[in-house]
Symmetry: C2
């Protein structure tokens, strides 16, 4: 099914409104799902709507929640999401940090008790649009095994970084697992084996059978494992969120969401060098012009691919898998989220793809 | 040659003092080199002394420089290292940030015009010792090729993160290259080939010949490459430092050092959860107790290995390669750093091992 981003937005916002979301909250949440689909990250797009609706019905998501914000110091913000939509709490946190950083040069938001953030890139982009450097970090269910270990103990813990440049910022948005669980599930559906190095089975042995994958491997070996673990405890320290296997509620329809999110915003204009977007842009262009290795089509700067994918789908529309479209239409017609949501809830989707 | 850490410290501090360093600056710089050797990171230890002395003799390092610090806002510090020792500027920046973060919850230091920081871990440890979460990022000469590219365009750009825990903090300290240039050079000296995936030759082709290695590969493929690039532009944006192939002076004895350093310190006690060292420690112990894969001896938390190595050498002494010891003794006897320093300067050592 091919639809426009606008139609997808209206569909999602309509469903969420019908489930009690005030229109601004419904729009923000819809925008985050549509942005994921626009960038080709289907695991964080419309596919999430049935679980989201089920979570609303079960009181795990409170669609009208207005995040409680409190500046603990001049530059540290605590945000209690009050079980509301993740993007509502996250975007609010970023907007407040950007506003504050204009005066203080620096602001950090620690967000707890909010639901799944969705893709991270748009949060840091929102800060970079105002000339800010920004970081976003969030934790998630333990799906990744530590380097050398047999059992998943660490979230896929994505990290996003944006740095202002022209024509658009550098925007890194990467999970610290080698691959998303969503991608493993796609292999399972299509009957394709997964490459060695992606996952371990329930016994902690390497597997190429996607149906047997029980723990995703960390990206980049010991370094990636260490990074994911560092982000896990950094976020838990600042947000008082749960850790490791105690984290629940970003994927399922059964538990309150107890992960945490951290946003950091810094204003380069407060520093002696001022804006460096010109020098950074020239350097990034030189990186893009690096001669390519055999088999590589281009050297890309983080964010380039997402921008190209987004532009293509804004012109040509967003392709939605039939099953996802069918489920969304059922919801729009007022059918209960029903069993699809329940079963999807039990099947980890793809945080930080 | 096996010596005590104390003897190594006195040797280094004595040489630096004889070259005009005030004793406190000589002690700080000596401490950083000794810490590297204590942790088994020889590339950042005593081996660096001849280049450091040569840099002093050439005016590229000003050993008596007192960093110029200015708070640009209540939580953003600009530090001009005035060509002084990297650790003098870096430690000063961290100490000021820790002190400031006690009141503001958050502080960032942007350091420019300082020399090589040495190993990053001790900076973030210094903050974690005061209950703070800390990040340190520094840039370096372009030794790493972007993912898919044939030419080195990115520094080895290490990242350090410390989060308070018991008995000691989690301390991640990792470069964003797959391997350090120092390790490739050790293979070259011993005549061992390097594994596939470590490096490209001057034509941009994969090589297993350490002598032919011209560009280190990024760790973790596209993700590690993106992370290294993001850190490069983040640091350059905040510190107005040079970018990519324009970065010089962290390894050689020829150029002023124009990389930048960023430190971030956050005080968890300003947030609603307060100190989370108890919960974090319990989680890290659970991670350490993860059943291990075949071939792995243990699941380690970042910082565990360095602590163990350090304790072992504090008891049993630090082993210094004969050539490194010989050069250091020459310097201590008042011989000029001479040609060893010059030739070492032309041979990249190992940033962020």
């Amino acid at each position: 099914m091919m639809i426009t981003a606008e139609a997808e937005h209206e569909l999602i916002a309509g469903v969420l409104s019908a489930h009690g979301a005030p229109r601004p909250a419904a729009d923000t949440q819809a925008r985050w799902l549509v942005e994921a689909d626009l960038r080709g990250v289907g695991s964080h797009g419309l596919q999430r709507l049935p679980v989201l609706v089920k979570r609303i019905e079960r009181g795990l998501v409170v669609p009208g929640a207005n995040p409680a914000v409190s500046w603990r110091t001049g530059s540290v913000l605590a945000v209690d999401g009050l079980r509301g939509f993740g993007p509502v709490a996250g975007l609010r946190a970023v907007e407040l940090c950007v506003d504050r950083a204009r005066r203080t040069g620096l602001a950090l938001a620690a967000v707890g008790n909010a639901n799944h953030l969705g893709i991270l890139a748009p949060y840091v982009e929102a800060a970079a649009d105002h000339g800010m450097v920004a970081l976003a970090i969030t934790t998630s269910e333990a799906l990744v095994h530590p380097f050398g270990g047999r059992v998943a103990m660490i979230g896929t813990n994505p990290l996003a970084i944006a740095v202002p440049a022209r024509p658009g910022p550098l925007v890194l948005d990467m999970a610290t697992g080698e691959v998303s669980m969503g991608r493993i599930l796609r292999h399972a559906r299509s009957g394709q084996p997964i490459p060695p190095g992606w996952a371990l089975d329930a016994d902690g042995e390497p597997t190429t059978d996607p149906a047997a994958a029980a723990a995703i491997s960390p990206f980049g070996g010991a370094k990636g494992s260490g990074l994911g673990l560092a982000l896990e405890v950094l976020v838990a320290t600042l947000t008082a969120s749960a850790l490791g296997r105690d984290v629940h509620g970003t994927l399922d329809a059964d538990d309150a969401c107890n992960k945490g999110d951290v946003f950091l915003v810094a204003d380069p204009s407060t520093l002696p060098g001022g804006s460096r977007a010109g020098a950074v842009s020239a350097y990034l262009d030189a990186v893009r012009a690096t001669p390519v290795q055999a088999g590589a089509d281009a050297v890309r700067v983080p964010g380039d691919r997402a921008r190209a994918e987004r532009a293509r789908r804004q012109r040509g529309g967003v392709e939605i898998p039939d099953q996802v479209w069918h489920e969304a239409l059922e919801l729009a017609r007022g059918q209960p989220a029903a069993s699809e949501a329940g079963s999807r809830g039990a099947t980890p989707s793809a945080p930080g793809a």
